[in-house]
């Protein structure tokens, strides 16, 4: 097939948001259409109790996906809110355990933001830098933990480069030192297997729309939620164990539950697809000289590929790549013209960061799509390089 003939959009920005699965959409529409279910799930009348039953079913489906106790899961509006509640809520509640917190410089803004806030509130924050491949050197973490350290927060899969941190080892280290461990797993839940009965993770943030669920809904896993107390950061209701007050959005939670159930049944198939697409992408793109992969070769989620092409401006590249939908860095940072902090932490300069583009696949991506994307990318890079200034000393 000649990919360049395509005129409709080709979506390769799954790390920003995944397309909602048709089964998820169907379940949400059915919920909204069902007059019997119209009620506030917190109401004590029969309709409210029916709605709450659906909520609990979804909670069960989501907890099974990560093999956790369903009592340890609270619903939030998404990973950003989960991260805020986990980091700020636990740090403030346990302030008497110590004022020292640890995170990484390559975290998503939804994690670095709460740490910046806590720093202004008087906490001391150590931000660990990754190696040049984006992975954390565990020795650095061990060295950074002090007697007054109370919380470590490190993401599982990096949203920009796909680096997979060794959270099993990180969690064990924290557990041994009696330090709480929070993990932003927005990019990993539903994509790679997580067993919270095995992993000693205390707090874990989940986002539904990163694994084909609806936007605007997420969850926070709080190990032994009744014991590990968090200070709520919003107030005004007793929902979700007082930690996250507010009316529970029934249709979104039902969709979230269906997405979790689908993820369990499709995980292996999805993983094989990502591996196949990634391998195919690299096989096709290697004809283009002078391009580089940002991030690790190993310990990388194959559905996220961040590549840079020197002598190319990324913004112009994105425009030339249309109707291909790809990204330059995090979508949550796209209104900010500052270069990606994650790529800077890998040691890249402004020019290298600017020339980088992220491709992220979804379960709807096909080899034909990859053909189109690669063909388009090669043509765009060649076009821009052809008009690069000549006879200059760099």
């Amino acid at each position: 097939m000649n990919g360049s003939n395509k005129t409709s959009k080709i979506y390769m920005d799954g790390a920003a948001t995944m397309p909602t699965d048709p089964d998820v959409i169907e379940s949400m529409i059915a919920c909204l259409n069902n007059k019997e279910l119209f009620a506030n799930p917190s109401s004590v009348h029969i309709s409210g109790r029916d709605a709450m039953q659906k909520i609990e079913k979804a909670r069960d489906q989501i907890s099974k996906l990560i093999n956790a106790n369903k009592e340890d899961l609270i619903f939030t509006s998404g990973a950003t809110e989960s991260n805020n509640i986990a980091i700020i809520g636990s740090a403030k509640f346990r302030a008497d355990h110590g004022q020292h917190l640890i995170t990484m410089t390559t975290e998503h803004k939804a994690v670095s933001g709460p740490f910046d806030y806590l720093e202004k509130e008087g906490f001391e924050v150590t931000r660990l830098r990754p190696s040049s491949d984006g992975l954390l050197d565990i020795k650095k973490l061990k060295k950074a933990i002090r007697e007054d350290t109370q919380l470590v927060s490190i993401m599982h899969i990096n949203n920009e480069i796909g680096a997979i941190q060794n959270i099993s080892e990180i969690a064990s280290i924290c557990n041994d030192q009696d330090v709480l461990f929070h993990c932003d797993a927005a990019q990993s839940v539903g994509k790679i297997s997580l067993d919270l009965k095995e992993l000693p993770i205390d707090l874990l943030s989940i986002s539904a729309h990163k694994f084909y669920g609806p936007q605007g809904i997420g969850a926070l896993f709080i190990r032994e939620a009744h014991k590990v107390k968090l200070l709520p950061i919003t107030h005004g209701g007793e929902q979700e164990m007082w930690v996250r007050p507010g009316t529970l959005p029934l249709h979104q939670i039902i969709g979230f539950g269906v997405a979790a159930k689908l993820a369990m049944t499709r995980m292996r198939e999805d993983q094989l697809l990502m591996k196949d697409l990634s391998g195919y992408f690299f096989e096709k793109i290697r004809v283009l000289p002078d391009i580089f992969l940002n991030g690790p070769n190993k310990s990388r989620y194959p559905g996220i590929i961040n590549i840079r092409a020197p002598r190319v401006n990324g913004e112009s590249l994105l425009l030339l790549l249309e109707p291909l939908c790809v990204a330059q860095g995090s979508a949550c940072n796209s209104k900010n013209s500052e270069p990606s902090l994650v790529l800077r932490e890998l040691g890249l300069n402004d020019h290298e960061i600017q020339s980088s583009v992220r491709f992220s696949f979804t379960r709807n991506t096909t080899r034909d799509d990859v053909d189109f994307a690669v063909e388009k990318y090669i043509s765009a890079v060649n076009q821009l390089r052809k008009n690069y200034p000549s006879n200059i000393n760099e």
Binding site: L319, P389, S390
Partner: protein, 134 residues
């Protein structure tokens, strides 16, 4: 006011996209190979660097082309600039203004430096042409 609200979100105008896609005056498409005047402006490290080349006789610019690494605003601005400078009398270049380009291409205020960069380049080319004719 919060910085977020001050910042205009980048939305390319249809005219900008037209110029960006056209690139009729790009040196890669229709190069200048014979003796020519040339100027460079910008900083390659900032990913914003231009090269302008032109052929001219005693009176006017006969052919003008550009090479560039930069954002779509810079690329479209160069296309517009060359289109407007080709065949222009050297004496008229001094009066040539880029002040309206921000509005014409809907260039956001944070990209204002593009205009300064082009002004530097045009001025340098003008000085080279004047020097040659005097």
């Amino acid at each position: 006011m919060n910085d977020f609200y001050k910042k205009k979100h980048d939305v390319y105008s249809s005219y900008l996209i037209e110029l960006f896609a056209r690139s009729d005056y790009s040196d890669a498409k229709d190069p200048i190979t014979t003796n020519h005047y040339e100027t460079f402006a910008g900083d390659i490290k900032d990913n914003s660097f231009i090269q302008i080349k032109c052929n001219a006789d005693e009176k006017s610019i006969k052919k003008i082309r550009y090479r560039v690494i930069g954002c779509p605003y810079l690329m479209a601005s160069l296309e517009w600039l060359c289109e407007n400078l080709e065949d222009k009398y050297i004496d008229d270049i001094e009066k040539f203004t880029l002040i309206d380009l921000m509005e014409i291409l809907k260039i956001p205020s944070e990209k204002r430096s593009i205009i300064l960069l082009l002004e530097d380049a045009v001025n340098d080319i003008r000085l080279q042409l004047i020097k040659k004719t005097t």
